[in-house]
């Protein structure tokens, strides 16, 4: 039995899940619940940070598969060849760190915002943490699917119970959309499993063993199509995005944050980890389509974002456009573009997440996020406005801030494969700049419309926002540690030598 000494991966997944029990038991004492959720997510962040710092140098009892730092693996349901198999490579470690960071923020920004069913709310946040961690760490297709679904239920309840607007409608729409994709993916997973089993006589769901399966062209196209559908809905990729504006806008602040910063990433991660490596020929064949859809998404997202009157919807569409860039980088499938995409996944998580945090704070104060309701915020709440400006500029891709690095890398990678696509995507950056600046200008700089009497950021909020801001600047200036971590797995996955500048 290959059972590498480190239980840290299991702890990362199951600590938050285990913490649900005490949180629910203490449901009468809300302060204690908040405190418990907060400390568990801090421990998660510390563990993830430890993994990030030490992963490359950890000694290992047995040799993990190439590219991976840690692996945990033992049989689970032997009849079907299902194993409890976890592993962390550079990409996983980065996303685990992002998850822990975002969940910390999600807990912190909910301290005041949530007033009803506090214990249940925090239990759900913890459940999402466990599910997303599991998605990023699973190396068994069955286990991956399990976590993929497990993170959906708490999200459904989070939107439905604490949302505003039409929460039930948005929550069910989100859930049914995602289930439609993932159930077909389940069939495809079983399909790969059976094809591999029939070829080798060894039935297994282990990703590393399934990677070498030879699948004939037509079957591969169907199977890849099913995987692509599931991940494209989650990302979301044009034209499967119609659940997104409703869910993003109606979710509570922490919900929008998690949807945009984490759940969208699980879709992109699935493409990188599962869909492309399992079906390389089908992926190569379909990549023009994916290119086209991603580019269409970038342009369409910008165009629609420009027409929005509500800031949450505007940021939702801008996030949709940015995810188009990430998918573009994945579709190019070169080491350079892939590193750009992975880096951009982290960057997008922080900037868009930060914007949603700000909008959540605004919503908490003024009970609306309509653009017309605000104006001249720079005069009344300067600290808030400064953060708002910074995050918006980062989101627009200002050089020196984090998004620029990722977009630059992935567009450079795309340019080598398909110059026209890169040019088109580059043109897509311009409208992003326009609508973001328009929003910033209207909300922060014009004359104050109605005196709202807003309060500036509190210490707790300032802490959260400063953490985001520091990361935005730091990753914009010095992204090397992240790129170092990503280099090896990206080369192994894409099968090419590294082309990092």
């Amino acid at each position: 039995m290959v059972n590498d000494n480190y239980q840290i991966l299991t702890i990362l997944i199951f600590l938050p899940l285990a913490a649900i029990v005490p949180v629910m038991l203490l449901r009468g004492r809300e302060g204690l619940c908040k405190w418990l959720a907060c400390s568990v997510s801090s421990i998660e962040l510390a563990l993830a940070g430890w993994l990030f710092c030490l992963a490359p140098v950890l000694p290992s009892a047995s040799v993990p598969p190439p590219g991976y730092f840690i692996r945990q693996d033992f049989p689970w349901i032997e009849r079907f060849g299902i194993r409890y198999s976890l592993g962390a490579d550079g990409i996983s470690v980065l996303l685990v760190l992002l998850t822990a960071f975002i969940m910390c923020i999600a807990v912190l920004i909910s301290r005041k915002a949530v007033t009803k069913h506090v214990a249940a709310y925090h239990a759900l946040l913890l459940a999402i943490t466990g599910g997303v961690m599991g998605v990023f760490l699973s190396l068994d297709l069955f286990l991956f699917y399990l976590f993929w679904e497990v993170m959906l239920i708490p999200m459904l309840l989070l939107i439905g119970i604490w949302g505003r607007g039409k929460p039930v409608y948005s929550a069910l729409k989100f859930f049914v959309y995602t289930m439609a994709g993932s159930l077909l993916m389940l069939l495809a997973i079983i399909g790969v499993y059976l094809i591999h089993g029939n070829q080798t006589g060894h039935y297994t769901f282990s990703l590393l063993e399934l990677l070498g399966t030879t699948i004939d062209q037509s079957a591969a196209l169907w199977l890849f199509g099913a995987f692509l559908l599931a991940f494209a809905i989650k990302v979301p990729l044009f034209p499967l995005h119609t659940w997104m504006p409703d869910a993003y806008a109606d979710a509570p602040p922490a919900g929008s944050l998690i949807l945009a910063a984490l759940l969208a990433k699980t879709g992109a991660y699935g493409l990188i980890r599962f869909a492309y490596p399992l079906f390389p020929t089908a992926a190569a064949l379909l990549s023009p389509v994916i290119f086209a859809l991603a580019a269409a998404g970038i342009l369409y997202g910008s165009w629609v974002a420009y027409a929005q009157h509500d800031m949450k919807r505007l940021v939702a569409y801008s996030s949709f456009g940015h995810m188009g860039f990430i998918v573009l980088g994945i579709a190019a499938w070169t080491p350079l573009s892939l590193s750009g995409s992975v880096l951009q996944m982290v960057n997008h998580g922080i900037t868009t997440g930060g914007l949603f945090v700000l909008l959540g704070m605004l919503e908490e104060r003024a009970d609306t996020t309509a653009i017309d309701a605000f104006g001249g915020l720079w005069g009344s709440i300067p600290n808030f406005s400064a953060f708002f400006l910074l995050f918006a500029l980062a989101s627009a891709g200002l050089p020196g801030l984090n998004n620029f690095v990722g977009e630059f890398l992935l567009l450079a990678g795309v340019f080598r494969v398909s110059p026209w696509m890169a040019v088109l995507a580059f043109a897509g950056i311009v409208p992003v700049l326009i609508y973001l600046l328009r929003m910033v200008q209207k909300v922060i700089f014009t004359q104050a419309r109605t005196p709202l009497g807003l309060r500036d950021v509190s210490l707790r909020e300032g802490l959260v926002l400063s953490a985001c801001a520091i990361l935005i600047v730091a990753l914009g200036v010095y992204p090397v540690p992240l790129l170092d971590l990503v280099r090896a797995p990206v080369q192994l996955i894409s099968g090419g030598p590294g082309g990092l500048p």
């Binding site: 679904e149 497990v150 309840l157």
Partner: protein
């Protein structure tokens, strides 16, 4: 009668003795001791069946005591025990008294056990009709509710028709091959001995009759009305025990038939497709929770049939696994509904608004059952669906599997609508309250434990099922 015969008969004897003692006790100490006596009898038969028989002898009088039948004796007996627990307080609230209730439950269990141990067609028929007969009584037992009587009559009329189909099918099979032994008859049919066209005709009639029992479209018409009218714990038993018994009959016949034959594949293929499509689409439109669950159970049986279509060993083991899981899910769902119903029944879905917070235990149980029925991990419903679809794809039924998955997406919507009603909508009028009684808590916790356990660790049960298929 040898010792081996006594061993084989013992579960039946225990239950029969239970029925008699419940009825007799009613004459001397009228009251509510029926529940206890019934539980003792059903648990006793379950424990007996758990034991390994000392020696295997030729089955006497068409009663087998094989691992297969022992497995189902345990399942049916435990289901009956849980139903008795759920009924105890429900009946008190609804004013359903008398010893006939626990006696009828035990009698239905008796029929199920006979069915599970049957090795010839006569016993199969007796078991099937015995249990259906008990359900005619149970469906109509709530005299304070006019819907109950109506449902009983509807069930009786359609049930009689289905009994006729089964009996006629058996008669034709006998005419065709000249034996009532299931294994011998099926061997003769496959080998082409005797008058094969007549035998296949008999097989067709038998299939229609059994489709009625497990409510497959187009033999499903009774299901929504009966689910709506019958007392809720009875529906819990009807939708689990009676359905599982129908599946046992199908598995017994199909495994005896051996490797899948084109003659059985096509009718099952269509029954499965129609049930999945119609059941799921009709469930979308329902306002009454019991009716919705009726259509949902039609769809669920469509999924099970999907695994039956393959005729493979994996298919049959998926069917049995799903029968167990489905039993736990529906016991939890109807158990929660029964526990929520007070003097007035909870019928409309709208009445469940906000109950997830005002009555957290029952609401949570209902939500768990809905997630499991929708097939969302980490519940057992997901494991069951996974096994079914893996078996279907492995058996080459790709088209039907894809169509089934598409209908499953539809089903997610109506199951989650219930969860949304429970947790995301404000209650109308004053807040309902009231916890569950101790028997209800025990029964619901047991069923929910099975759902969660099989959802994360189904390995041991799968091994057992593998073993009983021989």
């Amino acid at each position: 009668m040898t010792m081996a015969d006594v061993w084989a008969f013992m579960p039946l004897l225990i239950i029969a003795f239970g029925i008699l003692s419940v009825l007799l006790m009613g004459a001397f100490v009228p009251g509510r001791s029926g529940t206890v006596a019934g539980m003792v009898a059903s648990l006793g038969s379950a424990f007996w069946a758990l034991q390994e028989p000392p020696q295997t002898a030729a089955p006497p009088l068409g009663i087998a005591f094989t691992p297969f039948s022992r497995f189902f004796i345990v399942l049916f007996s435990l289901t009956a025990a849980i139903v008795l627990l759920l009924s105890h307080d429900y009946n008190k609230r609804r004013g359903i008294g008398g010893e006939e209730y626990p006696a009828a439950i035990l009698f239905a269990t008796f029929g199920m056990v006979v069915l599970a141990t049957a090795t010839n067609f006569l016993n199969l028929f007796l078991g099937l009709e015995g249990l259906t007969f008990a359900f005619y009584i149970l469906t109509a037992i709530d005299r304070n509710c006019s819907g109950s009587g109506e449902a009983g009559l509807k069930y009786l009329l359609q049930g009689a028709a289905s009994a006729a189909f089964v009996a006629f099918g058996i008669a034709l099979l006998y005419a065709g091959v000249g034996t009532l032994e299931i294994q011998a008859a099926m061997n003769a049919v496959m080998a082409g001995g005797g008058n094969v066209p007549i035998a296949w005709g008999g097989w067709g009639f038998l299939l229609i009759g059994l489709a009625f029992k497990v409510s497959l479209v187009p033999a499903h018409l009774w299901t929504p009305d009966v689910y709506q009218g019958a007392p809720t714990p009875v529906v819990a038993f009807l939708s689990t025990g009676s359905k599982a018994a129908g599946l046992v009959a199908l598995v017994l016949l199909l495994t005896a038939l051996g490797s899948g034959s084109e003659m059985t594949r096509m009718p099952l293929w269509w029954l499965s497709l129609l049930s999945m499509v119609l059941g799921n689409l009709a469930a979308l439109r329902q306002r009454n929770l019991n009716r919705m669950l009726a259509y949902s159970s039609i769809a669920q049986m469509g999924y099970v049939t999907l695994a039956l279509v393959t005729g493979t060993r994996e298919g049959f083991s998926a069917v049995i696994l799903y029968a167990v899981i489905y039993t736990a899910m529906n016991l939890t769902a109807f158990g929660a509904i029964a526990s929520l119903s007070g003097e007035k029944r909870m019928d409309e879905i709208n009445e469940y608004r906000g109950l997830g917070f005002s009555r957290p235990f029952q609401g949570g149980m209902l939500a768990l059952a809905m997630f499991s029925l929708a097939g969302i991990p980490p519940t057992a419903g997901f494991m069951g669906k996974f096994a079914i679809f893996a078996a279907a794809l492995g058996g080459g039924e790709t088209v039907l599997a894809v169509l089934g998955i598409v209908t499953a997406v539809v089903s997610v919507y109506y199951y989650l609508r219930i969860v949304a009603t429970l947790y995301m909508q404000a209650p109308e009028g004053e807040e309902a309250s009231g916890g569950a009684s101790f028997p209800e808590v025990a029964a619901l916790c047991a069923a929910a434990f099975v759902i969660l356990l099989l959802g994360v660790y189904p390995g041991p049960l799968m091994d057992v099922i593998d073993a009983i298929l021989g």
